[in-house]
Symmetry: C2
Subunit: 403 residues, 2 copies
DNA sequence: GACACCCCGGTAAGCGCTTACCGCTTGCCG
DNA sequence: CGGCAAGCGGTAAGCGCTTACCGGGGTGTC
């Protein structure tokens, strides 16, 4: 093996600049082994990426036709003569030509790129937090993105993902910049306020996820109300729990609010007790869930029979905190989540939760965006996807996981 | 058993077409409340995204200057007169102008986009697999991408992520297409073979992750050898285990091979026994790990004292399978992983593993790519990042998690 | 007071691609 | 065998931006 190896031992390295050892040796057998054909305006530099990619002019020249013909062949317009087509195709193959994205985008006014804006989760700025580097890793939004990417691919789109820091001075600006690199925007919850969305929606197609629709934007979400209703009834009627509390997500999260309201309604109509919500405020993270429980138990507050969490992450934190205090789940307290993220199954106490069709959420959002990009007017500005109750151990059901 | 209660059964929906709830109610106050300012070439369409975004010409007109001046102000060239600058800036602010990415890219020959190629993990095509929808969700590569995105952002780049299906007819083609939408490519392991990489590297800067360098591409990886050495010594000397086996990742994975070799070397020099590798072939997934164990136990093979897995995912599957067979970890058999993905901590038996600086891996890879895009010749074509041994319960150490 | 110089704004030439438009060729029909 | 239509290739005009180049007016200098 001839490649020089650098062990980056000084691991305290400022992450910005990689500590590349200054070897400076230019790899030996790096003759610009230009295979054939291409005569492109090569610039004989000794750098790693050697040749400029061929342009449509190179292809035209190689095939002995005009650039228009090349373009037509490539785009299947106007049915060129077979001979022409073959010549072009061969030249294309020889040169490995692929049209430049920017040039094409400029010309057809379509970039085939969807921008995705996600809230910055890489909270390295709170290293104290026990869960910092894990919960904040990848979960719900990432799975949505998977769905988005999948759907996008089917349409020949790629997705450009940008995380914005919540306390950024100018989320709108950075967002708009992303917008101008794409044909439309998919905005995750809680990164932009309604005004900004409104404003953005004026310039580009915008679809929000798990938020609320504005006059110019479309929203895609799960059926929180139905999901929570199912869960609540299960706890209230199947298990007969009479005291329940809810650990919310972010205070202004539409999802969290909708879930709470559905829960409250069911609890009320069952004549059970819903503990006051004030000190039960989480933030969608495991750390938040654990904090709530720790606070409560430190103050020797009585726990309800069941704790309903705004999402699975929160529930994970809750389970963790309860365990540390020796509270048994589900025997002493039942705990439930929402989302059904993958980890939910690996917990010591497998988590009862409400499954959202997360990937489908993303896929749907993309499809809606796609239609907007094509200047169609979507049928609905508030698209709702169904949910499924998943009973596992943490609510008191027998189950391991049968699936 | 009452598990997995399905409630909201209504949608067998094909994922392609979103089931738009036919609400049909067009919200009352939906007047295209055009507030002020913008006069842009409005096209009075009734669609959702109304106005074409302003161009540099609009700004120039509004500010009463030429487009060149606008561009200069925006790009900080040639220090324009304060008055000019102010006029332009104000017009920009009023119109909310942001330059079109494609046009800018075409002009400066820089897209400020890095392409990331990842192997398609959304294996919905193997629904039999117990772990299908979870392991194949998001883990190691996703975290790398986080690091990439983070570093990219610092340089004003965005990342374009493309998953390619392994058994795709033409990964090279789809990949090249991505390449022409970006300035350079970051290629995860096992999506392209060396020839394709070589070929690609001729046209655009390419950095591979956890692979091997080629004459035209640079590789970034963790120090597998050192990490595995530490782990092996811990098992051999601190715990005194004498029989060990290794469950590999994909057979041709450079990471897996390097880990195996380091392990083998340590085992040999300690005079312990490394069980034959043949039937211990995994595939980096939990399903693969579980399968190995199940096969073994079905055939009543004796287990070694310690099972070293190529990665955490595999270890998760192994733990799961062992548990089902009533084998106690770590009392009967010790199990270890590699990577230290977040879940590793949430397992019933917390996983001893080797931590890679996953995000840093991505960040470094981007920085290398960035330098290549700037036509610098990287100092090293094989960049190696350090690793850390993380002892938890599954190897036989006392711990919960000390961190 | 004239000349050289500098500063800054405008004009215009691309960047690589698509496509409207034009005109030549060929085929067909009368 | 002539005329017309259809088919196909080429030419050129952008898409929205950056920037080299040019030219006009204000300064500095003998």
């Amino acid at each position: 093996m001839d490649a020089e190896t650098t062990v980056n031992a000084d691991s305290t390295a400022r992450p910005a600049v990689p500590a590349l050892a200054p070897t400076g040796l230019t790899p030996a057998g790096l003759a610009p082994a230009e295979p054939a054909a291409a005569d492109g305006a090569g610039d004989g530099s000794g750098a790693l990426a050697v040749t400029q990619p061929p342009t449509i002019y190179d292809v035209a020249r190689a095939a002995g036709v005009s650039i228009a013909s090349v373009s037509r062949v490539l785009n299947g317009r106007r049915n060129p003569r077979p001979e022409t087509r073959d010549r072009v195709l061969q030249a294309v193959a020889e040169l490995g030509f692929v049209p430049d994205g920017a040039a094409r985008a400029l010309s057809v006014r379509l970039k085939e790129v969807a921008g995705v804006i996600i809230r910055l989760p890489w909270t390295s700025r709170n290293p104290e937090d026990l869960f910092a580097d894990e919960e904040d890793s990848l979960q719900f939004p990432d799975m949505i993105n998977r769905g988005v990417a999948e759907a996008a691919q089917r349409r020949g789109f790629d997705i450009l993902v940008r995380s914005v820091d919540l306390d950024e001075h100018d989320p709108g600006g950075r967002t708009l910049a992303l917008a101008r690199k794409s044909d439309g925007l998919l905005v995750h919850d809680r990164v932009l306020d309604p005004d900004q969305l409104e404003w953005l929606g004026r310039q580009v197609p915008v679809v929000t996820l798990a938020a609320v629709a504005t006059p110019l934007t479309v929203n895609v979400r799960s059926d929180n109300a139905a999901g929570m209703r199912d869960l609540a009834r299960h706890l209230l009627h199947d298990h007969g729990y009479r005291t329940i509390s809810y650990i919310g997500g972010h205070i202004d999260s539409p999802d969290s609010i909708a879930r709470f309201e559905a829960l409250a309604a069911e609890v009320a109509s069952a004549g059970a007790t819903l503990l006051d919500r004030a000190c039960w405020q989480g933030d969608y993270t495991a750390g938040g869930g654990a904090r709530v429980i720790n606070n409560l138990l430190d103050r020797r507050t009585d726990l309800p029979r069941a704790i309903v969490c705004a999402n699975d992450q929160t529930a994970i934190g809750v389970l963790y905190a309860l365990e540390r205090h020796g509270v048994r789940v589900p025997d002493d307290v039942a705990v439930t989540g929402f989302d059904d993220i993958p980890v939910a199954r690996h917990l010591q106490t497998q988590l009862t939760t409400v499954r959202q069709r997360i990937r489908e959420l993303g896929a749907t959002a993309f499809e809606v965006l796609y239609s907007m990009i094509n200047r169609e007017t979507p049928a609905s500005r508030d698209v709702v996807l169904p949910t499924t109750l998943i009973c596992r151990r943490s609510c008191g059901c027998a189950g391991g996981d049968p699936s």
